[in-house]
Symmetry: none
DNA sequence: TCTCGCCACTTGTATAGACAACTTCGGCGG
DNA sequence: CCGCCGAAGTTGTCTATACAAGTGGCGAGA
């Protein structure tokens, strides 16, 4: 392996990153391939270990590599995931793909609303809300962490539900129609709990969908849906009323 | 400022990150506030400058901070929330935030539909379509690359428009109402053109919104809107018709 | 008054060395 | 054969040091 050219204008760690991505794209290191260790890269590229380490760490955060402490560095697998921004039952989605759906209720409790939750639900801080945390699996592999805060006024029996049988979707469907929904989609680094549940490495990003639903103009619940990996899709379709006179 | 507790299990740089985020959330450091320099943090928290630097750098990547070499570190302005799934004019959005909008038409031409474009627009492969590529800037920084394929039957004068004055939104709004829209949101690594236009690094991801709009049941246009993933959030709000009897 | 250059300060990068945490594997004793 | 232990190798973190690069302000000189 040729040494990195030092006279380049770009910083060294970036040259190392580009070099590695180039090798991956060129097919030298296929998916799942084990990369040379930091010490080997250090020798081969003529940079310090810290520089090689920074390059590898950032590539790991960006989803190119998977690193296992004590083991090694591997080219990340691509995992095609598909989820709908349209409101659907995740169990149906998984069933539609011919896979097995399983879920685990990690937490189901009443608690006082934190300021952030209170603002999201338009309640007073400290007001009682229901909180649930459910992990959904597809053929055994975690695909979604669903964290939900619910306005108790709309769902008094929420805590008595067995969400391993009935999904939250089915439950809310039975409560009556919702007026509106709001979605926020963003990429983020998950907290330790979500990271643990999804089995992600430290630094692996999540796509996060935050959905609030309204009934009679009041917020019923806010769900934070965390999906593993950066390679997944959200699709949605929306039909417009006649009052939508402007379109792009 | 109290020194970071060394006996904590979490790594030091993470404790520093948590400390800083805590101060921001507590309101000690409001938006735009200048933070202590790395050297001051080093002394105040009792960690090395490299550790403080790593914490600050990661928080900058995560959008909490804005760093200017030679100047200082500042609490980042709130990420602009784009109500993208709702169909709006990007110029209005930017104006609403009190910033300056500018755009550059990179390409505006007629071309034959590739198989992919033809399928998206429900046309025959090779049929003539209009193609436009526009870069939108907010206060000088690139915020969106808008690539669009248009069915010429609905927009015969498309190529004669000056989209630096009239946004594509305004143009389509003048053509009449649209029936429906479809959105696909995904994260992807941009191609070289989009990467160049948005000023992204080689491994930096984009948030990509693909929108198709219909009129009289036929596809009018397909837009691929690329946003720099680290700098933007996408929000959408959706109101439901009465036939939405099920909701989550 | 204006301009240029210097200086202090800030962030960005690079290195060497050290230790911690973890995995894998092989050997050794039961 | 099984299980435990330790060695070797790997990644993760932390430090100290040095220099590069960029910003802002201040003062000297035109």
């Amino acid at each position: 392996m040729a040494a990195i050219r030092r006279h380049e204008t770009a910083p060294l760690y970036r040259q190392v990153k580009d070099h590695i991505v180039g090798r991956i794209l060129a097919g030298d290191w296929p998916e799942g391939e084990r990369l040379p260790s930091e010490n080997e890269l250090t020798r081969a590229l003529g940079v310090s270990r810290m520089t090689a380490h920074r390059a590898l760490r950032e590539l790991s955060v960006e989803g190119w590599l998977t690193r296992v402490q004590g083991d090694g560095t591997y080219v990340a697998e691509v995992k095609p995931q598909s989820a709908l921004l349209e409101i659907r039952d995740i169990r149906d989605e998984i069933a539609e793909r011919g896979h097995a759906h399983a879920c685990r209720v990690v937490r189901l409790a009443r608690q006082g609303a934190t300021p952030e939750v209170a603002r999201a639900l338009s309640l007073a801080p400290g007001a009682p809300v229901f909180h649930s945390l459910v992990l959904h699996r597809e053929d055994g592999t975690p695909v979604q962490v669903e964290e939900r805060h619910v306005n108790p006024a709309f769902a008094p029996g929420y805590l008595d539900q067995d969400f391993t049988c009935t999904t939250t979707f089915e439950y809310f469907a039975g409560l009556g129609p919702m007026d509106a929904a709001e979605h926020v989609v963003e990429a983020e680094l998950p907290g330790p709990v979500v990271r643990e549940l999804l089995g992600l490495g430290p630094g692996e990003p999540c796509l996060l969908v935050i959905r609030r639903t309204w009934s009679n103009g009041l917020v019923v619940s806010r769900a934070r849906l965390s999906y593993p990996g950066s390679r997944y899709r959200i699709a949605g379709r929306q039909d417009y009323l006649s009052n939508m006179e402007t379109s792009q």
